[in-house]
Symmetry: C2
Subunit: 408 residues, 2 copies
């Protein structure tokens, strides 16, 4: 037996980032299915939005100059020549001294260059009194003011938001070109692991990682295929890996402690794969394996649930993002807070410390570390986020402002 070969997290990320994966095949989905999918092409506007100038208020379309100087005591008189119905073409023109009624959203008629809100008018038979000056362009949304024809409105590699959907709908883009969702194969391993719905016998524990990892991976927008719980034999691991050959990435949890890791590395190498690193200078999460098999990324994740989850968040999700074709990730929402307790840490190891955050009105939030072993899943459930203690730091002192990262 030999010690794990530990590399730094930066070296690991460099290997992960240089691993040759990219987005999968392109497919089309409907607007209903498009939220959180990744755009496979730039979307170029084929028309202007809005397609015609629209009134933004209920009022009268007027020539602004006809209202110059109008006020309460000295209103402008305009003849109302009719109405532009919402949803109809504006057939009539507005001439000098004239107005047409326009409700919100109605097409502005030719000749008019502003709308006066109905609140600033008084009926006077077939005419209106306008009691304030209308600016040119007032209360109009111009043709193409939102989006201009020919403009790239959404870029390839963007994760589609509810508001992006609105832009797509406005443009009439109802078949959306997106990248296919990566299929992630999962295997749980360990002679002690039983499915969550089975009765516990002495020495056995229930499978946690499959559920946590599957949920994290699905939340990231991937599909999951589960190949069951492998016994600690090379043959069983080989047979389950082979069942996942069509997947775009494979995550094998457990089985990477020193004793068991032999089965896993032997299985990967037996199938013609290559272990790229084995052991990471992080805590929790040290016994992590990263390998190339069938030109696909394969991770051996630590069996301890907290370690396993942290490795997924820090090292697996970046490669899944690339498989998804995500080129413009959203803003990572971190939170700043003041540490209530010292965090001790070992120099040379990057540590991830679960924390709770207490918001205080008008004051910096308080950040309290949760100290617990990496086997203790309930602490992840209680945590509001985590703090990174860099390799070069020997802990962080109470009172220091720290950045809290989200747990997925």
């Amino acid at each position: 037996m030999e010690f794990l070969t530990s590399i730094t997290p930066a070296e690991a990320l460099a290997l992960i980032i240089s691993f040759p994966v990219g987005p999968l095949r392109e497919e089309e989905v409907s607007l209903e299915q498009a939220t959180a999918r990744v755009l496979a092409t730039d979307i170029t506007a084929q028309e202007d939005i809005p397609p015609f100038p629209r009134s933004l208020v209920d009022g009268y379309a007027v020539r602004a100059k006809d209202t110059y100087g109008a006020r309460e005591g000295t209103p402008a008189f305009l003849q109302v020549r009719g109405e532009v119905l919402v949803g109809e073409a504006a057939e009539q023109k507005v001439g000098d001294g004239e107005a047409l009624y326009v409700a919100t959203g109605a097409m502005m008629p030719d000749g008019a260059d502003g709308t006066v809100m109905v609140e600033y008018t008084r009926q006077a038979g077939a005419a209106i009194e306008v009691t304030r000056t209308v600016r040119r362009g007032e209360h109009i949304c111009f043709r193409g003011e939102d989006v201009q024809k020919g403009q790239v409105v959404l870029e390839k590699g963007r994760t589609i938001s509810p508001f992006d959907l609105g832009v797509l709908a406005a443009l009439g883009v109802t078949r959306i070109p997106v990248w296919q969702q990566p299929v992630v194969g999962l295997i749980s391993s360990g002679n002690e692991i039983i499915p969550a719905d089975e009765v516990l016998e002495a020495g056995k524990v229930r499978d946690i990682n499959t559920h946590t990892v599957s949920s994290l991976v699905k939340r990231q927008g991937c599909l999951v295929r589960f190949a069951g719980i492998a016994r600690d034999t090379v043959d069983d691991i080989i047979s389950r890996l082979s069942a996942l050959r069509e997947c775009d990435a494979i995550l094998l949890s457990g089985g990477s402690s020193k004793g068991q890791s032999d089965f896993m590395t032997t299985a990967i190498e037996g199938l013609g794969g290559k272990v790229l690193f084995h052991g990471l200078n992080i805590k929790p999460g040290k016994p992590t394996i990263f390998a190339a098999l069938w030109e696909k990324p394969v991770f051996g994740l630590p069996g301890h649930p907290v370690s396993c989850a942290m490795v997924v968040l820090r090292f697996v999700q970046p490669i899944l993002a690339r498989l998804k074709g995500e080129m413009r990730p959203g803003l990572l929402r971190t939170m700043a807070g003041r540490l209530t307790t010292n965090i001790p840490s070992t120099y040379g190891i990057e540590e991830y410390v679960r924390v709770t955050v207490e918001r205080r009105e008008g004051l910096t939030p308080l950040v309290t570390p949760i100290f617990a072993k990496s086997s203790v899943i309930s602490t992840l459930s209680k945590a509001d986020g985590y703090v990174v203690v860099q390799e070069g730091q020997e802990g962080i002192e109470a009172g220091v402002e720290v950045e809290v990262l989200p747990l997925g």
Copy 2:
């Protein structure tokens, strides 16, 4: 015609919060379906996790006192009596001067009170040399250390995270009691609105709000039923509202500008409902209606897409959260940044200003307002979040630190 009756956002939220809705019926889902659902009951542990003391490393289960004073030059000698197989009951005991091999996850045998990592041992025939002192409890996860039997591990009203799933799986809770997902009825209205997949004619625009609102509401964990695009007639609105009678909440977008709002309030009152407020002192989003119909909350949302989205985020989502049974909402992740440009604002109106955020290494992020009309959907798509200008503020000056809220 009369002016809209504008109430303050605080008054509106008070009305919304006092509206008598609560969680729906309870149902059971599998672990695979449980992420992001809301727990309908407290989950009490029926057993300890772990169910037995486990070794956290690959090594030897020992009696700590047998190793006191052991070091490289003066190791302790222990007879190895065998191995506890991972996944099996530990049948043998560890006596004085004895050790049993335990891999990570194996049950600790009786008699042992610590594990020495294999790295700190040397083989010596049937014995080992232990080259360091083992503390009592070292590298053991005790029975119940994660969760103790009888403990409430997850509370009713909690939104289930990937890590909560891990806790449920560990406890063997595979049928999860959750609240049913609220069904939200949607209607789009306006004579100018056509479905996104139809050809535009003069005066028409495509339906944006149905897609944006539907996506926001689904992302919040609700189901959506769409009753189509209503023409601007009381009868059509009545017939579409009636089609959504079984829904838990109804959102009717468009149709709440002054001209059109008459149709909507008349329709709601014609069906026996009651308008609770009509008009909100916010920008964008003023022409908002809130009503009770069939004892259910009904919102008339502004037709302008930005206004509509902001009202959903600020006023609709709180009531949907209550319908979902959410009692312990997650931490709202806001972000602090420095404003690059003055934001002008009107005293007495709460304004929501879309912003972009530029992260800078080691410096406060820069927050830049996007100024555009509320009809311009593309700005929401570009925004990284929004800033609230309080009613009592006349704008915010450049250089001030502001809080950026997430867009959904």
